[in-house]
Symmetry: C2
């Protein structure tokens, strides 16, 4: 995304470490907690969708939501008619989670079966973006996160479309990152007792396929480089 600052080059001071508020302190599996803000950015930037949690009338709702990042601000958007967006816009606490599943961990015991994953969790209250320039920035960041290069290459929102869209900003001040990598964490007794049984990791990844043209396209319209050459960011 052109609007996000580049990651600091190796050897430069890293961004500020992640906070540890009561909500963002990882208590279970604390050895998997990461505190490097650049790692948080990388996990967020590599995702296509996050899950937004918000309470409406006393019940939690968890819905997949597109997003984009500009520095320490996440932008979310949605229809003005969506109840969850309205609740988030009213300032109720929200939680926004981006998870990558990286592998299925096969252990020698059922108990130690696990997943390798990277998971970013952001707590806070969303801010409704009202400034017209920041609304456009937020939509640009969202569009170019989903489809890099598409903002400049396609028609930008008109007044009617803007009126139908809520843009929310969520600060990355209260965020945590949890990562599991590597082989199973079996008990020694199980390793010893099952030397002939396979254990290990089955890697999981997200891949892009061959572009499928819209049926309304005339023949011969080439696939643009921004689509044809797109890759998915992977863990660094």
């Amino acid at each position: 995304m052109p609007t996000t600052p580049p990651r600091p080059p190796t050897g430069q001071p890293a961004a500020a470490a992640l906070s540890a508020t009561p909500r963002s302190t990882i208590r279970r599996g604390a050895r998997r907690a990461r505190t490097d803000r650049a790692e948080l950015y990388a996990v967020l930037d590599a995702g296509l969708v996050g899950h937004l949690g918000v309470s409406v009338d006393g019940s939690p709702y968890v819905l997949p939501t597109g997003y984009g990042r500009d520095g320490d601000t996440l932008y979310l958007h949605g229809s003005t008619g969506a109840a969850t967006l309205r609740a988030a816009a009213a300032g109720t606490p929200v939680c926004f989670t981006v998870t990558h599943v990286d592998g299925v961990v096969y252990a020698r015991s059922a108990f130690h079966h696990s997943m390798n994953y990277r998971c970013a969790v952001v707590h806070g209250a969303a801010r409704v973006v009202t400034d017209p320039a920041e609304r456009l920035l937020g939509l640009q960041v969202l569009t170019d996160h989903l489809a890099p290069g598409s903002w400049a290459a396609t028609r930008q929102p008109d007044r009617r479309e803007l009126a139908a869209t809520v843009v929310l900003a969520l600060d990355l001040a209260e965020a945590s990152l949890k990562v599991r990598t590597g082989p199973p964490g079996d008990d020694e007794r199980d390793v010893a007792a099952n030397a002939g049984d396979w254990a290990g990791v089955l890697p999981v990844s997200t891949v892009l396929g061959a572009p499928e043209p819209c049926p309304l396209l005339p023949d011969g319209v080439p696939v643009p480089a921004r689509v044809r050459e797109r890759g998915l960011s992977r863990p660094g």
Copy 2:
């Protein structure tokens, strides 16, 4: 998963249609709502991880969670020490969401950029499973969902491991399913005005890689068929 009933063969009556309670009625994008219970099962069965939403001290938490399905019951599990699991076990309302991203939809306008996806959302109150036989069933279903065949092939939980684990059951009574497929839904004006610009779908899928053996494995231990031949279920 051997413990889940097979989908009804084509031509047989489908399972009961999905409910439409106030929480499970899809209001935004209602044309994307599906009401076929077999489709709900397929989306749940194809996922590796879901996102569990629960309120703790007035703030929503959304955390990736393993699960498994047995008929109309979802089983979740976790550590007895996890605050979110404790809150869910206390009967507070929860929401459990499984999302598959199937494609990035490139439109002729920024506004109509979208994603193709399948998303199952389950509302309810979780039940703490206390019956020893059902606890084992739940853990079997969870293990074999994550790693088919692993329950029978590995050491089952001992008393200490069982004591450290909460097993929750969530009924699929209040569930909804939303699916987007197909090309962009551009305005006619944009199709007409941008006949030379590419639009379409970039497919996204989740794939399994080559198994990575645990470093503690002796040389020559073969990868078992349950790992080597594993596929991911895809939409039907």
